[in-house]
């Protein structure tokens, strides 16, 4: 895996994800494998095939978060009220 392919794979599951953009193309097993490696996680191809379906089902929900427009002044909550 070279740097170019890694960045391409990360782009597929990151904020500009083809998968998460709701387009019908599912992320390839290779792309998922590259992202998992980049995140330090070892997953077999069998596991990746299961997760491919799971992520496909969740992409609309994840995309809601990615598309939500938030004012720059809004900070992540620290949990105190």
């Amino acid at each position: 895996m070279n740097r170019r392919r890694l960045l391409h794979s990360l782009a597929l599951t990151g904020s500009s994800a083809t998968l998460a953009s709701g387009q019908s193309v599912a992320t390839s097993i290779e792309a998922l494998r590259n992202v998992a490696i980049a995140h330090g996680v070892k997953l077999s191809d069998e596991r990746l095939r299961v997760l491919q379906g799971t992520l496909d089902q969740r992409k609309a929900r994840i995309q809601l978060v990615r598309d939500f427009e938030i004012d720059d002044s809004i900070e992540p909550t620290n949990g105190s009220f």
Partner: protein, 472 residues
């Protein structure tokens, strides 16, 4: 009093009998153990029963009460926590083969406070593995709904709801990160409270999601919820997220009037895909509350649809982080669906997570805005209990699922940390007869208003007094 008469009494009904020595804690514990023996093989609510220990504690309670040392309204009352609360020296499985043999060397704060109040631990309750919303196989198979054993009690605090409905114990403890107290309360026809985030210490309770986890009580009545919350709530040096906000006298809230109380009812979003039975029951409840003097105010919760989306990323990321080591070393020991959910979170980015936290900030401010125009918010608690599928393969979403009620109605309170109470408000019309629930939410740390409206509603109705005939 015959043992069978004790099974479905609330703690509020039992306490004066114990204090006046009309019944003994020994008889009460014995009755609970008998009911567990009779119904648990079918309901599977309990994973562990500590009968000998409970009887010993009951005899101690009896001696103390005879000597005039009555500790309060929970003294001598049996209870059981979800098996995710560490109990020193007693197996705590988290409903998982991963920790099936774990015997903690420490006590969770919530059970320690119950024990100090004189409540008697009867055993540990079944749950969905590690409190995740999936994984019905778990350690010992799923708990079943006492109203119909082919149906789910809902989860993840499945045993906490089922044990109450089956008359096994009058008080239980659950946890709620995405509806896991309120779902079982609704499906089992009992009362469940998800308190304000930080109202109850999470020390000694296995983490699902640091941002969304809440520990809370389930019981047969709102009056009982007030008593158990009084014991559980408060600061804890062992849990830095446990709030130092003053704990009010919750029993005083029960005496409050509801005339003039403003109840917000959302005009859109939350009531999509609500079953006609649920819709009818909620409308009847609104009618009852209006008759009692509650003012209904139409409100709108902006960006409500973001709650379940943000919750999914927060819960997924945090649970994956918590289980990272276990997932590397014991992946095969997890329920397949739990493992799938944990591994899927690998593919969320840090930006996704931070955005979810910023959505949380946005929604907290939104609820502050909503509560300027109402004192309590009414939401659906979901439709009636689903059928219990013992074989779930592949992913945990069946193909072409029927439209489900908006999960945001449940996730809203977890994401924003506001307290939320679910109580029974009716039953399904078609067979099988299953309970229906109504949900109320309030401002942060205003559990008192929830208790006030919930108790007032229960004085006017008797849904909470009904129990499954098959369990009697």
């Amino acid at each position: 009093m015959a043992a069978s008469e004790l099974y479905f009494q609330s703690a509020a009904e039992l306490a004066p009998l114990i204090q006046s020595r009309k019944i003994s804690p020994v008889d009460l514990v014995r009755a609970c153990l008998a009911q567990i023996d009779k119904t648990n093989p079918k309901v599977n609510a309990f994973l562990t029963v500590v009968g000998d220990r409970a009887m010993q504690q009951a005899r101690e309670a009896e001696r103390e009460i005879r000597a005039g040392r009555y500790r309060g309204p929970l003294h001598g009352i049996p209870y059981a926590p979800k098996d995710i609360c560490a109990t020193k020296g007693i197996r705590t499985t988290n409903g998982s083969r991963v920790t099936a043999d774990w015997i903690p060397d420490h006590e969770s704060t919530v059970t320690e406070r119950m024990n100090q109040a004189g409540a008697i631990l009867i055993g540990k309750l079944n749950l969905l593995e590690f409190a995740m919303g999936s994984g019905q196989k778990g350690l010992n198979g799923p708990a079943r709904n006492p109203w119909n054993l082919s149906y789910s009690p809902s989860g993840s605090s499945s045993g906490s709801g089922a044990a109450l409905a089956a008359g096994m114990v009058p008080l239980t403890i659950g946890t709620d990160s995405g509806g896991s107290i309120r779902g079982p309360a609704k499906s089992c026809g009992v009362v469940g409270l998800k308190p304000t985030y930080g109202r109850v210490s999470r020390y000694g309770v296995t983490t699902l999601s640091w941002s969304l986890d809440h520990v809370g009580p389930l019981a047969r009545s709102v009056a009982d919820i007030a008593r158990i919350l009084q014991v559980m709530a408060g600061a804890d040096p062992k849990d830095p997220t446990a709030s130092k906000a003053a704990v009010p006298d919750y029993s005083k809230a029960l005496a409050g009037k509801v005339k003039g109380l403003r109840m917000g009812v959302p005009s859109e979003h939350f009531f999509t895909h609500v079953h006609p039975d649920t819709d009818r029951a909620l409308r009847e409840a609104i009618f009852t509350l209006k008759r009692m003097g509650v003012e209904v105010v139409e409100v709108k919760v902006q960006n409500a649809a973001m709650c379940s989306a943000a919750s999914a990323i927060l819960l997924g990321s945090e649970s994956a982080a918590f289980h990272q080591k276990r997932l590397k070393e014991q992946a095969d020991q997890f329920d397949p669906l739990v493992r799938e959910r944990l591994e899927a979170a690998t593919f969320y980015s840090a930006i996704d997570y931070i955005q979810a936290l910023r959505i949380r900030t946005t929604m907290i401010e939104e609820m502050r805005r909503v509560f300027r125009s109402c004192d309590v918010l009414m939401l659906p608690a979901g439709n009636a209990a689903p059928k219990l599928d013992t074989e779930i393969t592949g992913t945990d979403l069946p193909p072409d699922p029927p439209p489900a009620p908006r999960p945001d109605a449940v996730n809203l309170a977890n994401v924003t940390g506001i307290p939320s109470l679910v109580l029974p408000c009716g039953f399904t019309t078609a067979s099988p007869t299953l309970p229906l629930g109504i949900q109320f939410c309030a401002r942060h740390f205003d559990e008192a208003t929830l208790l006030r409206i919930g108790h007032a509603y229960q004085l006017e109705t008797d849904w909470h007094k009904r129990y499954p005939p098959a369990m009697a």
